[in-house]
Assembly symmetry: D2
Homo-oligomer: 343 residues x 4
């Protein structure tokens, strides 16, 4: 791989002017082992990235499509449904594809149809797709050519519940109550996401069911080796970045607080991007980092696990870089050394 | 009662310079059937209310104690533990006492000791205390002389779960995940509640157990006629006012979405301060009002009920006025006509 | 007038689903002497107001146009340029017209063309238009049939600088530095006003010149009887409601702090909606009220006057009701009794 | 110097648990040429830095005093008045002292007394003190042993007005209207800085005069070679980090927009931490960086210059590192490479 041969890894970012894509660009511009070789944007093509996106340090001209023959990897932050239209071509041209969006997360085309309302645009690729779980299933990433990042909520819920599921300490029915910053909705104009509509306000949405729920169920079932059901309700809160996923799991008979904590320590003690903390972390502590803070507590019959991360960082851009690092054998923390800054 | 005799009800507010007490003062100053006759504050006595509290329209001088012999009712917003020291005197002087704080919410002195860390200061009064539930148990209020308001979180959880519990539609084990504005912590100096510490951040707290949990358990058990357990986790969110309590209840066999909705409609259709809504309401819609917006949905095995209110309004000051209205036979909405203002 | 004859004043609101228009509707629904008889919206016609706008208490069906023959007054909160197209008809039908937007603020059609980039749509009406200054020129309102409200920034700047100009205490060259909440931009979708773009951020805009500047210059020149120049820079701040206009004026020789304060007291002491305060007020104190808080201080050669108001209240909706009250001889505070609520 | 000899520069941070001090620690921990050898805190001594300050990566134990004999430089973020008590000792022990606070900014002990209300604690050191102006007077820093950083507001105002003053393009009387985030008040408990008091609110303070005003006047007079007067009003805005200083200067006869812009380009084109921009920047763009964005515009008779920076970054911690780099001949951008991240 180029990272070991001395040459830099050549990476293209498709969908480079949304929050997630631009975040990838900014991180990769400062990555010691990566060269950003192309930035794609259909709506802004012809302009330079730094003339379009505030604070960008990338002076490349945006192109409507990326040419995967000229790079080692494509990070796609295209809108849902669009990566699936291009991924086949990118793969055929020899690039590894990492999709930040939702196109390759669900293995079952029927589940995709049920949750997205239309047939999957490229069902023939689903068998090649791997959901990236860098702490819980790093081997799954190693040889993969088509990698899907879990959604921002799913990342939090899986990191929170995975160790308990893998150790069979909890019943396979979980409540995930998540609080998110508003940037998860992206940068497109929307009167419902105006500052004046959202400040000083919290609200639940998608209470009858959100698309990240089947992702959580699929992955927890895989990790736990039994069928998991998830009840998931996201809430919009008046902050830009951050997710707090509070997960309520029923302890199985015989499983207690210390046993559970030991299981989490065993799973995460060597993980550079997961911090086990005694008190639930404030979400701002994770802001602009790739860190996920996890706290484990027992209240009544429930194990309560809080996972805290930056929805645009560990929930999107920096997780993409983490997976890129893992996939190409680069240092796991390369380009991701940003420490918390308070306040 | 004076309200029916033409004279105004004479009300004293103890603890009148905190957020909850000052809110009571401001509402009562505009109440057509009430005269504010005393405002108490130990820390600020000797100054006029409007010289102490921003925007106050009350020019009375603050006194260290209130003289219950000169009024029909005392609304106490004293800090926890202090109302219990004065309530006996107030009652002996013939006033009705309404406590916004926590001193008279738990019936069992042992539970009080367990959750508050010391013996109850006035256990002999606990038998006289009634937890005010104006929609779910209005008769309980009518003859009472010592009324306790449920806590802000408890008010939301009880309004959310009460109808299902009373109709025996759910298992008696509930998860309450609440999101609150920061004003619930009051106005005293605290570096943890500085703007710089809280903005752009959400965090869970009291994950091992919060004092409002036993209130919820006591009241839901009473309403449901069976022992309810509650797992309750509050979250601090970057807004000043508002609570969203998202409650997860397991439906009993045979109970479905429409049956549940019918139970809620039956309970609340005539209630002026509870609005059943199709979509979970944004908390800002309740801001500065006495309204509680409730939405009822089913996801998987769970009934998900969201209760949305203003923690300083329906969660404290305006609920105190609502209970005062109910107790003294005044119009239920007197002084509480404020409609939502958006944005 | 109907207000004196016992019948209620019949008012139509055009543009009733934007922030300013819906604010007028909500205030008028609770006004003791007004009946809202029509609510207009081109984009939402056919739906009921309360099904379109959060928290509305108005169940009228929205109509694409308002019929001025059926009402005594039309409050127009139509977008800039649209009221001018309808005002002639409304006036011909006998209604008094109050325009919240900018169409009738500038007397000079050439100035309108210079600042708005096109010819005025109804220049023949400009002679009839009166800019409403309820505290500084109440007589101007009394017989007027076509009333323009000053812009939100202009209202603050005029209330701040007017008394000094009228008393000839300052040089006729003013710096107005204003900070506004984001709701001034309205409710239409705009990626630049997303929460994620605006929170944790302040920025100046229109630094080369903003359309409210010629309004300020026109009115201050009229009030002062000499040509005033204004340098005006607005700033977008991360709050929903509120304006703080900090005005820097050079004191004329012989004019000192006490002389200036006396002039402000003389002008405002009987004004129910202007509060002279010792310390500059926090903008939240004015939120959801019609109040303007004004503080007067001297620093070096400058008189520094801060005017603080709610851009959607005194800067738009509630000022429209204040002008309506003045114009129709109703009680000045009718429908506008809302007192500050803190926090 | 150690930086050139291969050894790392040994730096102590006094006052390491406030926002400014902890920011210095976090930046220096990642600085390639610096070793943090001591962290001081009187209130928290005996605890490790990372156990006291959220997100800290520094595991050193806090000591009540720092031992300047063991380091090359002391960065002091002690509260006002305290650095002056220790600086003499630190200097005698051979360390270079950089004070983030206000003790050594004013040259004139009488001015210090007038603005701070007491005599200067160490007037004998004032002659040795140099106010650090890394872009406008880098030579001043080079041999200095006692360096004072300008205040956060002063830094913005000086960077905004300095080039015009140095080029004699403006009259020597300036209006500086600044908007700041709340973190400038520090981390100590204060009910006036609670989230609930500050959110959704902007207010002016210190309208009669703020301590940063004489700093601005002293430095602009020095740079311009004539006596400058400043009228300065700061405003508290609902954000954590950020300053926007909007400066109004009267152009001298013959000075126009292009001439002014040329002067700013000449001064800043090689400066790595000053970005000249066409539109006034949103303050969030500077957040967590050392950048100052400056825009230059003309409106009427005024030159309007906006300077935008992070009050805890370029206004405190990262400016301290910038000055350290300059003083010790390290790369100017070492440890300060953080690029903007949006949103």
């Amino acid at each position: 791989m180029c990272a070991t041969s001395g040459a830099k890894l050549r990476v293209a970012v498709a969908g480079a002017t949304g929050y997630a894509g631009a975040g990838c660009v900014q991180l990769l511009m400062a990555h010691p082992d990566v060269e950003v070789v192309q930035v794609g944007s259909r709506s802004q093509s012809g302009r330079r990235h730094q003339d379009v996106y505030p604070g960008s340090t990338c002076s490349l001209e945006l192109t409507p499509e990326v040419d995967a023959a000229r790079c080692d990897a494509v990070l796609s932050a295209l809108p849902p449904g669009e990566a699936a239209l291009s991924a086949g071509t990118w793969l055929a041209q020899g690039a590894v594809v990492i999709d930040v969006a939702a196109d390759f997360r669900l293995r079952d085309p029927a589940a995709y149809r049920a949750w997205y309302g239309h047939d999957h645009p490229a069902p023939e690729l689903l068998d090649r797709a791997v959901v990236a779980l860098p702490e819980l299933d790093p081997e799954g990433i190693d040889g993969a050519s088509l990698l899907a990042l879990p959604g921002c909520f799913s990342t939090a819920a899986i990191l929170a519940c995975g160790p308990a599921a893998m150790a069979h300490l909890v019943e396979p029915q979980v409540v995930v109550d998540a609080k998110t910053g508003t940037s998860g909705a992206g940068r497109q104009a929307d009167s419902g996401h105006l500052f004046a509509e959202l400040n000083e306000s919290v609200r639940a949405y998608a209470v009858a069911g959100h698309r990240h729920r089947p992702e959580m169920e699929q992955t927890l079932s895989q990790l736990g080796g039994e069928e998991f059901g998830v009840t998931f309700v996201p809430h919009l809160t008046p902050m830009t970045r951050g997710i707090v996923a509070t997960c309520y799991l029923r302890l199985r008979a015989g499983a207690g607080r210390e046993e559970v904590r030991a299981a989490y320590r065993a799973r995460y003690q060597a993980a550079p991007f997961v911090a086990l903390v005694e008190q639930a972390a404030p979400s701002k502590l994770a802001s602009h980092t790739n860190l996920c803070f996890i706290s484990v507590e027992v209240q009544g019959p429930h194990l309560v696990v809080c996972a805290v991360l930056d929805n645009l960082g560990r929930g999107a851009s920096s997780q993409a870089v983490q997976v890129l690092n893992q996939r190409f054998g680069m240092a796991l923390t390369a380009g991701l050394e940003a420490a918390p800054q308070w306040p």
